[in-house]
């Protein structure tokens, strides 16, 4: 299969990319690893007039420690690089998810920035970053840099808050303070590996050392594969905050996992099944996160 013809420009620096986006943003697609975009272009489900290749901008690659105890992950950092970065793999939900995203070859090319800018409603990375409370840093030639909270980033299926002239620079992940545990659990469609329902959970006690007799005051639960975009399950979070995360409390709270969500249906899972599996994955993720917190 051959993509429709397109014009091609390569940006060697962030400034070059921003200048190209200023001129062509409305008609162009950025390409980094291309692991989501190229398959769509080969099927001609996407026919951009122009590709702006940012794959060689080394300044956007790699993970560094940023102020306020944050990890700053460059937009072009590949899944394979994340897998080799101890500060990322120390986050248990990342260690759960990353080895199971796609396959070796795709992880060697696919980037974290591409994953969230593409905003596939069944992708794993959006749920992981929602549960972690990440910030997305974007830059444009005319308006400079801004920080978008991840909760405001996903507009819908394949749609984000990024403006046509904006380049995603990096993702800042706060490292939870105090004691915390996290987990990611996914029911995957066996051929594609995409989530039928995937749930990422972060639970914690911000006061410091973990103790079973202390209430949980940090609960973040994020869901992918279920709605038309990845989302925070705030009703579940509210139901668990202040509890001891006992199994009865979890079971009760996850009944709200699809509150206010339009559950998607496809040939792999109808609405009822997908909703039920969202609850199961939420329970498993929360129990695993709790066990890690207290482990």
């Amino acid at each position: 299969m051959i993509p429709a013809a397109f014009a091609y420009d390569r940006a060697s620096t962030v400034d070059e990319a921003l200048a190209l986006l200023l001129d062509h943003g409305a008609d162009a697609k950025l390409i980094a690893g291309g692991q989501s975009l190229l398959p769509l272009m080969k099927l001609r489900l996407a026919r951009p007039e122009r590709l702006i290749d940012i794959g060689r901008i080394d300044a956007l690659r790699g993970v560094r420690t940023a102020p306020e105890g944050r990890l700053a992950i460059g937009a072009l950092t590949t899944y394979a690089q994340l897998l080799e970065t101890p500060s990322v793999m120390d986050l248990a939900l990342m260690a759960d998810a990353l080895p199971r995203i796609a396959d070796v070859q795709v992880r060697n090319r696919g980037t974290i920035g591409g994953a969230i800018a593409h905003a596939d409603p069944a992708a794993d990375m959006p749920a992981l970053l929602l549960a972690l409370g990440a910030d997305v840093v974007a830059r444009s030639a005319q308006r400079g840099e801004r920080t978008i909270p991840i909760d405001d980033f996903f507009d819908g299926a394949f749609s984000t808050a990024l403006a046509p002239d904006e380049l995603l620079i990096e993702i800042r992940v706060p490292l939870p303070s105090g004691a915390y545990g996290s987990a990611y659990r996914r029911l995957e469609q066996p051929a594609s590996g995409f989530a039928i329902a995937g749930v990422a959970a972060v639970v914690g006690q911000s006061g410091g050392a973990a103790g079973r007799d202390l209430p949980i005051d940090v609960v973040r639960v994020a869901v992918t594969g279920v709605g038309d975009k990845p989302y925070r399950a705030t009703a579940v979070e509210d139901g668990l905050r202040g509890t001891a995360l006992d199994s009865a409390a979890i079971l009760s709270a996850v009944a709200s996992i699809i509150d206010d969500v339009s559950v998607q249906a496809d040939i792999h899972a109808d609405r009822d099944y997908r909703a039920a599996m969202a609850g199961v994955m939420a329970r498993r993720a929360l129990e695993a996160a709790r066990d890690r917190l207290f482990g």
């Binding site: 299969m1 051959i2 993509p3 429709a4 013809a5 397109f6 014009a7 091609y8 420009d9 390569r10 001129d23 390409i31 291309g34 692991q35 190229l38 398959p39 272009m41 080969k42 099927l43 007039e49 122009r50 590709l51 290749d53 794959g55 060689r56 394979a80 080895p99 796609a102 396959d103 070796v104 070859q105 795709v106 060697n108 090319r109």
Partner: protein, 222 residues
């Protein structure tokens, strides 16, 4: 600024050879390798980033060349399956292991399996069977089945580490080094034939065991 019809000049290293070309931006790396450079060892299978038979190394990492544009490989180092046995006489140890351990039947997936396995072995020269299976998750085989491919990679890895070839294994967890002076896989240490892996499902004479399909060739005893 490029226009939609403009070809783009690229320079890259392919199997150690400097290559210069002008390509359409939409030219896929796999088509560039096969059709422009005549390197047809790399196969096109699904053409949808699933099957992995188009796997090559791009700057040392396994990638699916059906899902990379040739222009994205500008300035890069590409290695294809042809680099493994440049004179066609002396197989790479991993290729030899695939021959020895029935790692292929039709051979269509083999170039991708080899290149993916070499990506793994560059990171981990002594992987477990689970790690091998995990590494080839993005490579489909539709005829041999995966056990013999895992056997081949495990054994090829041993040879690449400078260790003697391992004998046939009934399962991945139990295998033994051959005794000195004996061939790697035909005799047990006591001189008795080592059971073929097919013995579990077929008799040595090719009669199907109960529950096994009668079609197919008898397994050749080695």
């Amino acid at each position: 600024m490029g226009s939609a019809s403009a070809r783009v000049a690229i320079q890259l290293s392919v199997n150690g050879r400097a290559v210069e070309a002008e390509v359409e931006p939409r030219r896929l790396l796999v088509d560039f390798l096969r059709e422009d450079l005549d390197l047809t060892g790399t196969k096109v299978g699904c053409d949808t980033s699933q099957c992995g038979t188009c796997t090559v190394h791009l700057d040392g990492h396994a990638v699916k060349s059906c899902t990379v544009l040739a222009v994205q490989a500008d300035g890069a180092t590409v290695r294809t399956v042809e680099v493994l046995a440049p004179d066609s006489e002396q197989l790479h140890p991993l290729q030899a292991a695939f021959v020895e351990h029935h790692g292929l039947q039709c051979g269509f997936c083999t170039p991708g399996m080899l290149m993916t396995a070499l990506d793994l072995l560059a990171r981990d020269p002594d992987p477990s069977d689970d790690e091998i299976r995990d590494a080839i998750q993005g490579n489909y085989c539709r005829c041999t089945g995966y056990q013999t491919i895992v056997d081949s990679i495990r054994n090829g890895a041993a040879v690449m580490r400078g260790e003697p070839a391992l004998r046939w294994a009934l399962d991945g967890a139990r295998y033994a080094q051959p005794a000195a002076g004996q061939s790697a896989h035909s005799q047990s240490a006591a001189g008795q034939p080592v059971a073929s892996r097919h013995a579990a499902g077929q008799s040595a004479h090719g009669q199907p065991a109960a529950g096994q399909p009668a079609s197919g060739q008898p397994a050749a005893e080695r």
